[in-house]
């Protein structure tokens, strides 16, 4: 494995540590999704996205829509590491007057593309953006949409899926965070989603799959997705909710819960030492 990928893995680990610190400090918020998405966000902001942290409104940037707004701590943490703002600001999450609202608000923080929280809207917004770009004959700009798997219970998602397929909006690359949990339990108990691949294929989408916690695989899959023409693409990213923290992994109870001080300490130690693989200087 290249040194480059190793560095990105360390970056994702640092982002996870910040997510834990932010959530513990805020005393509320979602843990599992943001931790599970840290590798995908690292791949996006440090490799895939055409963007400039110093010019968030750059008119040639790629668009990243976070449709499942409750996962925004990972976006804030990654944006801070990418240079959009000082990492110190991360600890203002969910506080009065903060730019880092509990769910993202576009107008509050440069670099956010949409206000979200209520689920199921990101793909429709992407479709609107893509149609506008087509009218303006814009080439080479991609629109990435991150959606939760539980989110696809929403009918709005499938309305958008039909539209993007009808108009062959091939600069849309959706990333489905397939972590198999939602608030009330495992997705297949709450509202079975399988067969996910067949569902999206039958809606006219090109479907790719990847290990969403393997940065190298995610980068390769997204680069392949960019090369696909004539249809929108969805990357089904299999992730582990709570990834990186043993007692959170795959436990749906951590969907909407933050760690307390003691739990945060354990989690941070685990992340700092890469699960005991290395000695941490701060131990």
């Amino acid at each position: 494995m290249s040194l480059y990928i190793e560095n990105l893995k360390l970056k994702a680990d640092a982002i996870r540590q910040d997510i834990i610190k932010m959530l513990e400090h805020a005393g509320s918020g979602h843990s599992a999704g943001p931790l599970g998405l840290a590798d995908i966000f690292t791949a996006l902001y440090f490799n895939i996205l055409k963007h400039d942290p110093k010019k968030p409104d750059w008119n040639e940037r790629d668009i990243l829509l976070l449709s499942n707004g409750h996962c925004v701590p990972v976006r804030y943490a990654t944006m801070a590491h990418a240079g959009y703002f000082d990492v110190k600001e991360l600890l203002t999450l969910r506080q009065l007057g903060s730019r880092l609202q509990g769910h993202p608000e576009r107008l509050r923080l440069p670099g956010l593309e949409n206000t979200s929280g209520p689920l199921g809207c990101g793909l429709s917004q992407a479709a609107g953006m893509s149609l506008a770009m087509r009218l303006d004959k814009v080439k080479g700009r991609y629109i990435y949409v991150i959606m939760g798997d539980g989110e696809t219970d929403e009918g709005n998602v499938w309305e958008a899926a039909m539209l993007a397929s009808k108009y062959k909006l091939s600069n849309i690359i959706a990333i489905l965070d397939r972590n198999n949990i939602q608030i009330d339990g495992p997705t297949e108990e709450v509202m079975p989603l399988e067969n996910v691949v067949a569902k999206w294929q039958s809606f006219g989408w090109k479907v790719l799959e990847t290990d969403g916690n393997n940065i190298e695989e995610v980068i390769n899959a997204l680069n392949f997705a960019k090369s696909i023409e004539n249809s929108p693409v969805i990357l089904i990213a299999h992730t582990i909710p709570g990834k990186g923290v043993d007692f959170m992994e795959n436990d749906y109870h951590w969907h909407g819960t933050p760690p307390n001080a003691e739990q945060a300490k354990i989690a941070l130690k685990e992340l700092r030492t890469l699960r005991g693989k290395i000695r941490s200087e701060s131990e």
Binding site: N114, C121, S124, Q125, M129, D136, E159, L163
Partner: protein, 322 residues
Amino acid sequence: MTNIRLIKKLDSDILFEPIREGFGKGLVSAGKTNPQVVAACADLTDSTKMSLFKSEFPDRFFEIGVAEQNLVTVGSGLAAMGKIPFVSSYAAFSPGRNWEQIRTTICLNDQPVKIVGSHAGVSVGPDGATHQMLEDIALMRVLPNMVVIVPCDSLQAEKATQAMANDSRPNYLRLAREATAVITNEQTPFEIGKSYVYREGKDLTIFACGSLVYESLVAAEVLESEGISVEVVNVATIKPLDQKTILSSVSKTRLVITVEEAQINGGLGGAISELLSEHLPTRIHRIGMQDRFGESGEASELIKYFHLDSNSIVSSVKELLN
């Protein structure tokens, strides 16, 4: 005495035309003036008269299908890329079905999407209660950033549509199905946020919107012959309310009736009541839908059945003055 500076004399030959027709024409001219204007519809392109824009600018029109949630969220995305999207359906479906998407992706997200709800009010007629949208004014009025416009005739709808294309806020435009008296003329002013005194009087003010502005003016003429002087104000923008015009009229007449083809709770009646109770407490009577749904029937029958016609307005004014 009709204020003929602002509107036509009611005794001249009055043309009847659906208000939505004016929207269709206004959208075409807005499209010609501004290439950023685009349109999307949820399978009701002819009914909402968006068809006129579609034939003129086929590339700038998007057919969304029967999917109103998608309709407005696609609008949010179009606006995010600098377009000025007009999105239309029947008011019962949009904003009836997709209120939360409008709240989050348009109002809180502050994208200047233009939501056009056609076939509002009981005058939809035989289709019945499911399709007679009565709660849209209330639903849109409570949303921060949203502007609510209810034109009184097709010509005003045309002007309103052009004005909306130049407005940087989210807008809601309420349209009716039936042919409505065209009482304004080319010179009649229209500005978003303004109410207009269409007839001056001293005994009572009628605040009306939509097609019932005409009924109110007819009522005022009848009352004049009986020695009652009624001021009629067209509240063409319900949010933001033109406080100055409204308060100045009420401080003269000190008696108010509101007239609308919508629920009085939260509608125009609600808006005027809120304003007056804070700034100029005044006795008020609200004509409109009294916390009930409509039903099937011919438009003109329903307007009478629900006491929204000029005769009913005349009776209400007399009752209030006694």
